[in-house]
């Protein structure tokens, strides 16, 4: 069972950020939300390991609630 990999792995992080923002261009908030949800589901299926996904869900939630 692999672990959630938290090392920086993207060769071009700016390009990913740009691609994500670009994907949302012209969408209203509800459509944006569905796009993100579709993206999460696609990536979750690609990862395919429930334990890794649970760790990612927990970390995503924790990072959002921490005071800077």
């Amino acid at each position: 069972m692999s672990q959630l990999d938290l090392t920086p792995r993207l060769a071009d992080p700016d390009a990913l950020f740009e691609a994500l923002v670009e994907a949302h261009r012209g969408l209203d908030p509800a459509a944006s939300r569905r796009l993100d949800a579709r993206l999460v589901l696609l990536l979750a299926n690609h990862i395919g390991e429930m334990e890794v996904l649970r760790a990612a869900i927990a970390l995503a939630r924790a990072c959002g609630s921490e005071t800077p």
């Binding site: 509800a30 939300r33 569905r34 993100d36 949800a37 579709r38 999460v40 589901l41 696609l42 299926n45």
Partner: protein, 540 residues
Amino acid sequence: MSYQPPRFAFRQPPELGAGGHGECRVAVVGGGLVGLTVALDLSRRGVGSVLLDDDDTVSVGSRAICFSKRTLEIYDRLGLGARMLAKGVTWNRGVVHFRDKIVYEFNLLPEAGHAFPAFVNLQQYYAEEWLAAACAETGLVDLRWKNAVTRVEPDGEAVRLEVQTPAGDYALRADWVLACDGAHSTVRRALGLGFVGKVFHDHFLIADVVMHRNDLPTLRRFWFEPPFHDGGSALMHRQADDVWRVDLQLGPDAEPERETEPARVRARLEAALGRSDFEIEWVSVYTFRCRRLERFRHGRVLFLGDSAHQVSPFGARGGNGGVQDADNLAWKLAGVLNGEAGVALLDSYDAERIPAADENILNSTRSTDFMTPKTEAARAYRDAVLELARTQAFARPMVNSGRLSRPAVLRGSPLNTPDEDAWQGGVPPGAPAEDAPVGAAGWLLPALADGGFTLLLFDAEPVELDDPGGGGVRAIRTVLIRSADAPGALWDREGLFARRYDARPGTAILFRPDQHVAARWRHAAPARILAARDRAMGGA
């Protein structure tokens, strides 16, 4: 109307002429699907009962319509399987729509080599009518219609019931009470028992509609956000006699009185069906709960079916779950009443059926949460799944329009003897028997329905058992099954028994009276067989 419900005659109970008091060993409270099933199962085991029902007819409306394979197998053991199969509508295909598009179609593709299909749709009233007739035929079930239980008081080694009838009231002292009186159980309220679980606030409109047209395929059709209806979901399913079940989600703010007004119902159904050539037979507006009692056994009162646990209707887990409760309890209670088992065996009813109920509640809760998203985020994910599922196969298993009933595998049961030998799959202890074709045209399951335990030996000689038991539930009957046709043995004609049970020459499998596997071995050793039987009787 497509169906004329029977009116069962009220007969004056003998207690009214005998000082208003009586006694019985088993009182079944509630003559619905589950109460009639447990009374019939007990009678097949030689145990009589008094069945008390406050009404004098069968279920109003179709109610539980999807009878699963396991339920049909249980009814086959009780003598009603063929009739249900013949009258019910066998279905395998389903289609899921999102708004005006098809998301995907499925086919249950039932595995060949089983006597019964995955599901048939049959109105609950047919099952109840046939069960009541079968109960009456046994002469062991005292069917008392228009006998309403009003009070329930545990009284030492018995339970005192007060019963109200049109001819007067009486008291009945029962050694055991089986509470099968539904979601609004009088027995449960009398004992002051609460539920654990979740209440859902969405209202649903359910209707039975007669359409004498056969241009509609036999499909389970489900819509998320249907274009013809402003609620969240819709379901349409065919039953016997050209009756169709239509289920429409109305949302949390619907007013039941207004929603059952005939003109309003007709308008909704015309929109849903796209036609007006139908008759409405039954309409109801309901909400549902996914919850259960903390325990199903309370001393000498045992709860079965909706009185013990409730689920949403979308997984066909209510009726099928209740029938499995009856299947689980009847042989145990018969064993206790025959003096073959200690009272502690009844605690295994909790140990086995609570996890089964929890599985049903979990599946039902998840289906409901998918169908009725409670937050914007939940809705976004739900819609995202549906949007992906149209083109992406990986997303289809996430579409949840109801996870259809599967028989409970009693994995952690204290009655199971854990495996000691090595198995490649097969049917593990706790699982219900898998059917297989045997002989020229027969089936395996009827060979496991003799009342007691069955020791099935594959390509092996019989073993000598010191204590096979008498004629009750504790008795072990040996059945031989062989890969080749031979006298005195079942013939595993297509090799499916060997494949399904991972059987090799010498394999021995011990089945309980309810056809669940108690234990299995690569080679039969008499001492182990008897120990496993005694354990399954609550002795270990």
